[in-house]
């Protein structure tokens, strides 16, 4: 499903005299319409496709009207390409300032998956303006945020740009009562580890297995146990899904079976009903029950399919390896597990993911391992992945330990001495020297690996670690928890140093009386570069425990596979 589907589906568009819909692709159209409207993201490639279509028309002597609507913004680069291709005069351009797509009651997506690669790999700031405008929009709808926290360079830039936009627009939001008390911005590179872990809460698992697109999933024949696929909208409206989405996968079975027993009981009630009761039953309850029945069988089908796929993949062993990596035990054993995974050509994406997890948790691979794993990877999945490894190194997801850690010591000393901006410059200057993850140290300081006495009860979780089977508290969520608790970054200095800093906290409504308590409970968490369903589940849990209400704004929903795929070079 695409964002447009969520706003105006095909039938609505047809009502507005749209003749046909096409995907903008690298091939000529066969349409006979005399007007074309391109609704596009501002991408260079798309511009070239459009130019090709127009130029093909020109060659064929056909004249049409062309309109390009850029969403959310028009980039000058796009116009330039149109100009270069000689079609600039043939098109009229427009912008559709579409920044926010609510996927659910508490999730807003900007649907910009390319943000991750563009910013974190290419160092391109083009989307920051969009983030700032999205914030401006939210601000105009819900009043000013009274307190802002953030961590990461992009978070800082987005926040500052947004503040500038606010100042300039002179809107009268000042007098408004804030409905969202707090805002927390975070760069994805603050915590790659969490995004790289296999997801085991239901919604995350569904995303990892079937790919949720724009809040909807395509359940194939293996789930529906028929010969057709069904598109299902996954959100809080789905009565079954809303109850299992945040649960650990192992508790989902129990829930579903309980639910189906209840359903059975409700159907059974109709025995021994008289005509009138039966009439009531049919008119009032039956529809709901049928709906529930259908949802139940879909989710049971999905669970079965997930189980089938996961058992085939040695999921158990993989999870065990991930946990060892997170805890820092049996590194050799984990390394050879990954090696074998590669040798057996199990999955190129999963192999990459495991290597990255090993690298980040270990602060880079030791040179010998790096070389050998890379060679085997190229042999198993193709030599062109040379480029993938280069990208991963640049972004800092898969690095080689430098011989001798002296450099690191110098680096951290330097960054302690000089100002923030200068440090940033230094980091930038050594673009290839991607930042160190220091995961082990951070994990220790924040207690990310819960000490377990006996078995971790996944049905009655006691902390956010349940989203990873009790083995690991997601770093991103832990940071948010800590800062909200302290209402500042005070006391987290050591962690910040290991995280490479770039934190901020700003109190906006200084002069006003204490803002309404209700709004103070609401926290808008902004993930720059994507957030995972596991993180959402963890923060929902935290919200329930501490009485917060989290609203998620993300550039896109992400998971490990999407992140890895973004690093792979493809042909033009």
């Amino acid at each position: 499903m695409s964002p447009l589907d969520r706003i105006a589906n095909v039938s609505i568009l047809k009502q507005h005299e749209v003749d046909k819909l096409y995907k903008v692709e690298n091939r000529p159209t066969s349409s006979t319409s005399d007007q074309f409207c391109f609704l596009v993201r501002p991408r260079i490639k798309t511009m070239k496709y459009i130019a090709d279509i127009i130029n093909a028309d020109k060659m064929a002597g056909r004249s049409r009207k062309y309109k390009i609507i850029f969403s959310p913004q028009k980039f000058y680069a796009c116009e330039m390409v149109l100009e270069e291709e000689g079609v600039f005069g043939d098109v009229s351009c427009d912008e559709w300032s579409f920044y926010l797509l609510p996927l659910d009651d508490d999730i807003i997506s900007m649907e910009l998956p390319e943000f991750f690669r563009d910013y974190f790999l290419e160092g391109d700031h083009r989307w920051i303006n969009c983030v700032a405008r999205a914030l401006q929009l939210l601000n105009s709808l819900y009043g000013p945020f009274s307190k802002a926290y953030g961590i990461g360079r992009c978070a800082k830039m987005s926040y500052e740009l947004w503040r500038d936009l606010e100042e300039e627009s002179e809107s009268d939001s000042q007098g408004r009562k804030p409905e969202i008390g707090n805002i927390f911005l975070m760069d994805r590179d603050t915590d790659y580890v969490t995004a790289l872990c296999s997801q085991v809460v239901y919604e995350g698992l569904v995303d990892d297995t079937f790919r949720i697109k724009c809040g909807s999933v395509d359940f194939g024949p293996d789930v529906t146990s028929s010969d057709k696929s069904i598109k299902v909208l996954l959100n809080s409206q789905d009565k079954v899904f809303s109850q299992i989405r945040n649960e650990h996968f192992s508790s989902v079975f129990g829930f579903l079976s309980q639910k189906s027993r209840n359903l059975q009981a409700q159907y059974d009630r109709r025995r021994g009903m008289d005509i009138k009761q039966m009439k009531n039953f049919v008119s009032q309850e039956l529809k709901g029950l049928k709906q529930e029945h259908r949802l139940l069988s879909l989710h049971i089908g999905a669970c079965e399919s997930i189980m089938k796929k996961k058992t085939k993949q040695d999921f158990q062993e993989m999870i065990k390896t991930e946990h060892s990596l997170l805890e820092g035990f049996d590194i050799r054993e984990s390394t050879s597990f990954i090696e074998e995974h590669i040798d057996r050509q199990v999955s190129p994406i999963e192999s990459l993911r495991l290597m990255c997890l090993l690298s980040i948790t270990e602060n880079g691979l030791i040179p010998k391992d790096y070389r050998s794993l890379k060679t085997q990877y190229l042999q198993s999945y193709g030599p062109e992945h040379l480029l993938t490894f280069h990208n991963l190194k640049r972004i800092g997801l898969l690095t080689e330990q430098s011989p001798g850690e002296t450099l690191t010591a110098v680096e951290s000393k330097v960054s302690k001495l000089v100002t923030d901006r200068a440090a940033g410059k230094i980091t930038d200057a050594f673009n290839s020297l991607a930042r160190k993850s220091n995961f082990r140290g951070i994990s220790k300081k924040l207690g990310l690996i819960p000490r377990v006495d006996g078995e971790y009860d996944l049905k009655m979780p006691r902390d956010m670690a349940y989203v990873f089977s009790g083995a690991y508290i997601p770093l991103s969520c832990k940071i948010i928890e800590q800062v909200l608790e302290r209402k500042s970054w005070l006391g987290l200095e050591e962690v910040l140093r290991l995280l490479n800093g770039n934190e901020f906290s700003v109190t906006e409504s200084a002069g006003e009386d204490s803002p309404a308590w209700e709004s103070q409970r609401i926290i808008l968490t902004v993930f720059l570069g994507g957030c995972t369903f596991s993180e959402i589940a963890a923060l929902r849990f935290l919200g329930k425990e501490k009485g917060y209400k989290f609203i998620f704004l993300t550039t896109a929903i992400t998971n490990s596979a999407r992140m890895m795929e973004a690093m792979i070079e493809t042909k033009a």
């Binding site: 964002p3 330039m80 290419e122 598109k231 079976s257 049971i300 030599p383 280069h390 999407r562 973004a566």
Partner: protein, 466 residues
């Protein structure tokens, strides 16, 4: 995670329950519509977001010319070397007027520029976050250039950057030290402004301005990136012969030592694949070779990874002498494939053909006294798993189950794959009477296995531990 196993029963149970309801609930599809949004079959909306992030670099067609090393010279560029001065590089009239236009036509455009500029507040302070007044611009030559680089995208004056690169080429070619320095300063200004530089590089990648990109990277001394950017071009070359030629040209590029050997291997691999493909296609169409008749090829071997090629070679050319390019041993030697990898792949291929003798030979080693012994560079539990996936008969399977070192794993595998003999022997060796007795009901009644269990249980010689 152990809970998942117990959970499965729940799942089955709930599935049964739900299925049993099926006859009560008749299927009407209008409810379905509510749950599932579905457009019309045409469905696909013109701009659906691609799941993977954009990676729209590199050109549409192959540009073999980009392999040319060094700076190429542009004869078209007018030579007027004497009038070159630093400021004249910047004060192109066009640049300024374009800026004025930009500022007038869309204030938003100006802002975009400025916010980018924040990351690189140098001593010039390109207006911090505020809107730069058009009038401010032309005063400082550098300013124009920053803005140019930031918004190369926005200005058709981008040309002028290209001109500058050309100028650099010219300068280098003309050994005019003065100009080289002048242009260099310009680039250095860009270099310290990393964000602008990133934008420029990304933009060049996106617009497939390969030549310009390479020149810039060369100037910045990012030699490895130069090599990788050139190597990247091979992805756009469809024709295998052309691709092979291109890769050959890549070998000399300034990769790291490690990557040089990978690129060399890439070239060699494709070269081999082309030979193998031609031979095998011929064999297949001729219909003479039994293996190709029995197992027709599903796809060509061209551009496949090395391990896939090895599998293919173990499948179709297993017995060939080392001298032929298509033989597994030749591949193993040429590409220095580690034992472990080789054995895994050969095992998978031979097991798929159910060539159990070959499998046997793969693990058999002879010592100097002539005794044979089974050895594997991978765990025997993996061997068992691969064999089982290829439906190996129990006789074959149990031989390898016996070789699994860890007793517990061995027992688990034996039980899972019904290698009764192994299970029985293991319990006997463990002197575990209770388990053995319990296992008795898992074997067929009146079978040889049952008899065996009985005879062991009745054996008074054994000192049971329970």
């Amino acid at each position: 995670m152990l809970t998942i196993h117990c959970g499965q029963n729940h799942l089955k149970e709930s599935k049964r329950a739900v299925n049993s309801l099926r006859d009560i609930v008749d299927d009407d599809d209008d409810d379905l519509e509510k749950v599932s949004w579905s457009g019309d079959p045409v469905g696909s909306i013109s701009w659906s977001i691609k799941e993977t992030a954009s990676s729209s670099t590199s050109s549409l067609e192959s540009r073999d010319s980009s392999l040319q090393k060094g700076y190429s010279s542009y004869s078209a560029f007018p030579k007027q070397a004497s009038s070159y001065s630093l400021s004249s590089l910047f004060k192109g009239e066009g640049s300024c007027s374009a800026w004025f236009q930009l500022m007038k036509s869309s204030p938003v455009g100006g802002r975009t520029v400025i916010h980018v500029a924040e990351g690189l507040k140098g001593e010039e302070q390109v207006g911090s976050w505020g809107l730069v007044q058009p009038g401010d611009l032309p005063h400082h030559p550098y300013t124009i250039f920053y803005l140019l680089c930031l918004q190369v995208c926005s200005l058709e004056r981008f040309r002028s950057l290209q001109d500058k690169l050309v100028l650099l080429d010219e300068a280098v070619a003309g050994h005019d030290g003065n100009i080289i320095t002048a242009v260099k300063i310009l680039f250095q200004e860009l270099e310290v402004r990393q964000v602008a530089l990133c934008h420029l590089i990304h933009f060049l990648k996106e617009t497939s301005e390969q030549k310009l990109l390479l020149d810039l990277l060369r100037f910045l001394d990012r030699t490895e990136e130069v090599a990788l950017s050139q190597y990247r071009e091979h992805l756009n070359i469809q024709d295998v012969e052309k691709r092979r030629e291109f890769l050959k040209g890549c070998i000399g590029l300034p990769f790291s030592a490690e990557d040089t050997s990978h690129v060399q291997d890439h070239y060699t691999l494709l070269e081999r694949q082309i030979i193998i493909e031609a031979n095998d296609r011929h064999l297949e169409t001729a219909g003479q070779s039994e293996i190709f008749r029995k197992y027709p090829r599903k796809a060509s071997i061209l551009n496949m990874p090395l391990v896939t090629t090895l599998f293919y070679s173990c499948f179709y050319h297993y017995t060939e002498a080392e001298g032929t390019f298509s033989s597994p041993t030749n591949l193993k030697k040429t590409f220095k494939i580690p034992d472990k990898q080789y054995v895994l792949t050969a095992l998978a291929a031979r097991a798929k053909l159910r060539a159990w003798n070959d499998v046997d030979a793969l693990f058999t080693t002879k010592n100097w006294l002539g005794y044979t012994k089974k050895k594997a560079p991978i765990g025997f539990h993996r061997v068992v798993e691969i064999l089982q996936r290829n439906n190996a008969p129990v006789q074959v399977l149990q031989e390898y189950v016996r070789l699994v070192e860890d007793v517990e794993t061995q027992l688990n595998l034996a039980t899972k794959y019904k290698c009764h003999d192994v299970v029985i022997d293991t319990y006997r060796d463990l002197k575990d009477r209770i388990q053995l007795a319990a296992y008795r009901c898992k074997v067929e009644r009146g079978s040889a296995e049952e008899e065996k269990i009985d005879s062991i249980l009745n054996n008074t010689q054994i000192r049971w531990k329970n």
